[in-house]
Amino acid sequence: MQTATRRPTAPARNAPRGPGSAQITLAKLALFVLCLLPLGWYLNGLWHDQLGANPIEAITRASGEWTLRLLLATLAVTPLRRLTGWHWLIRLRRMLGLFVFFYASLHLATYVWLDQFFDWAAIAKDIVKRPFITVGFAAFVLLVPLAATSSNFAIRRLGGRRWQALHRSVYAIGVLAVLHFWWLVKRDVTEPLIYGLILALLLGARAWWREQERRRQLAPRAAPLGKRIIPIVQR
């Protein structure tokens, strides 16, 4: 069958074998430690007073940037799998996604605590009035159901199709997160621009592949390449 070579359901005979479950466990452990490094770095800096003259600003900013970086890493899993054929990468994605939520929660906590000091009225006003807060808060709210449905139990409960549909909101979250950063900076948009370009690349690749897939399905199946019968259009 022609289509069999395209997306093998079982590993092809000479395709490299994926890592075993022990190796996956090890990779997960390494990733877990890796994802905690930024937190450790900043806690250590805070303890030793090495975060500069405005440590609260440094922590607020760092927690936001690490949220964004891990979000992009999460979104990079699918394209990476596709390009490298390392399908085991999918098994690391849930942890990446949960760390996105972890750093986003820290980021929100710095705002609620260290910036607004739990002044809920002021926070509500901020969310309504200031576009960069509005989109940042929206991104966080959209993250909550994704974190809440990250377990195997939730996937079974929802059913794969519905679960996937829900989790596609991560694309919107990515856009909102970049906007949040973009609208915050005073003048120099270099950094948000870089994040925005990476996001565009990751989302663009998906759109491109989807379009390719659509065309492939539209193309006549039976005729091999080069011998296609081109229908004559009647004028």
């Binding site: 500069g52 003259a53 600003e57 200031r130 960069f132």
Partner: protein
């Protein structure tokens, strides 16, 4: 010591000065980069001697001053001022310098002079931030003449009893303590008296966010964030921001009858 004598000033606040290390390492000086730690890191090639500043425009005696003459132009004072950044943080800085009025009087402003324009250095070879068109270089600022002549308005040449470091605007800069920090143009090369309100770098970049006056005002928010409170560096909680940064008693009368929401 760089200054032979430093006089105390009744204009100084008795609030606790921000540690010197914070003042010289946490800076907004976009000509050296847009991160707070960029300026201290990137000033290595910036030369502050020899240095001259041209004072010209609508005055009887336009003149070019060398930095060493400026140091002797008037008695050096210590002025401990609050500094409120438009971004919502603040410091207390012990500046050394003299009133800008002392310099302006030297060139004898004409009756037609109504404004003062300040121009900062823009040397591509030693200021890496100029490579990005973040602002319309060179950096310019402006004051109304009565603001410029106000006794609080300072020409700073030092801080903490030492000559200014480049990241703080060496060798000389403007300090206007009742306005947001960006009004204090750094590393001045030109001061020009004019009859028209001069354009200013931040106002040109984002006119709806940064006005010509830019007086500290907790009632008038920046479009993207509140100005009601501020974080004093070194403090955990936030403080309420004061009208005119706490200098209302001395300067509010300059704006009598003006709608400060309109002239922000």
């Amino acid at each position: 010591a760089p200054f032979s004598s430093i006089q105390k000033s009744p204009f100084s606040t008795d609030e606790k000065p921000t540690p010197q290390n914070s003042i010289i390492s946490y800076n907004n000086y976009y000509e050296f980069g847009t991160s707070k730690d960029d300026p201290a890191r990137n000033v290595g090639r910036f030369k502050t001697r020899p240095w001259t500043v041209r004072v010209e425009g609508l005055c009887a005696k336009p003149r070019t001053f060398a930095i060493d003459d400026l140091l002797k132009l008037a008695p050096i004072e210590e002025r401990i001022y609050r500094m409120r950044c438009v971004e919502g943080w603040s410091m207390v800085i012990p500046w050394n310098g003299f009133p800008l009025a002392s310099l302006l009087k030297q060139v004898e402003p004409l009756g037609s002079a109504k404004f003062v324009e300040f121009t900062s250095a823009a040397d591509r070879a030693s200021m890496p931030g100029l490579a990005l068109p973040v602002l319309d270089w060179p950096y310019t600022e402006g004051l109304r003449l009565d603001e410029a002549m106000h006794p609080l308005t300072l020409l700073a040449l030092g801080l903490y009893g030492e000559e200014l470091l480049a990241q703080n605007g060496a060798p000389l800069r403007l300090v206007v303590p009742w306005k947001y920090g960006f009004k204090g143009a750094k590393s001045l090369v030109r001061i020009r008296l004019t009859d028209k309100q001069p354009g200013t770098a931040w106002n040109k970049a984002a006119p709806n966010e940064y006005g010509f006056y830019s007086n500290v005002n907790p009632e008038v928010d920046h479009p993207r964030w509140s100005q009601a409170s501020e974080r004093r560096l070194g403090e955990f909680g936030k403080r309420k921001t004061l009208p005119f940064n706490g200098y209302a008693e001395q300067v509010a009368k300059l704006y009598a009858g003006m709608d400060l929401r309109k002239f922000y």
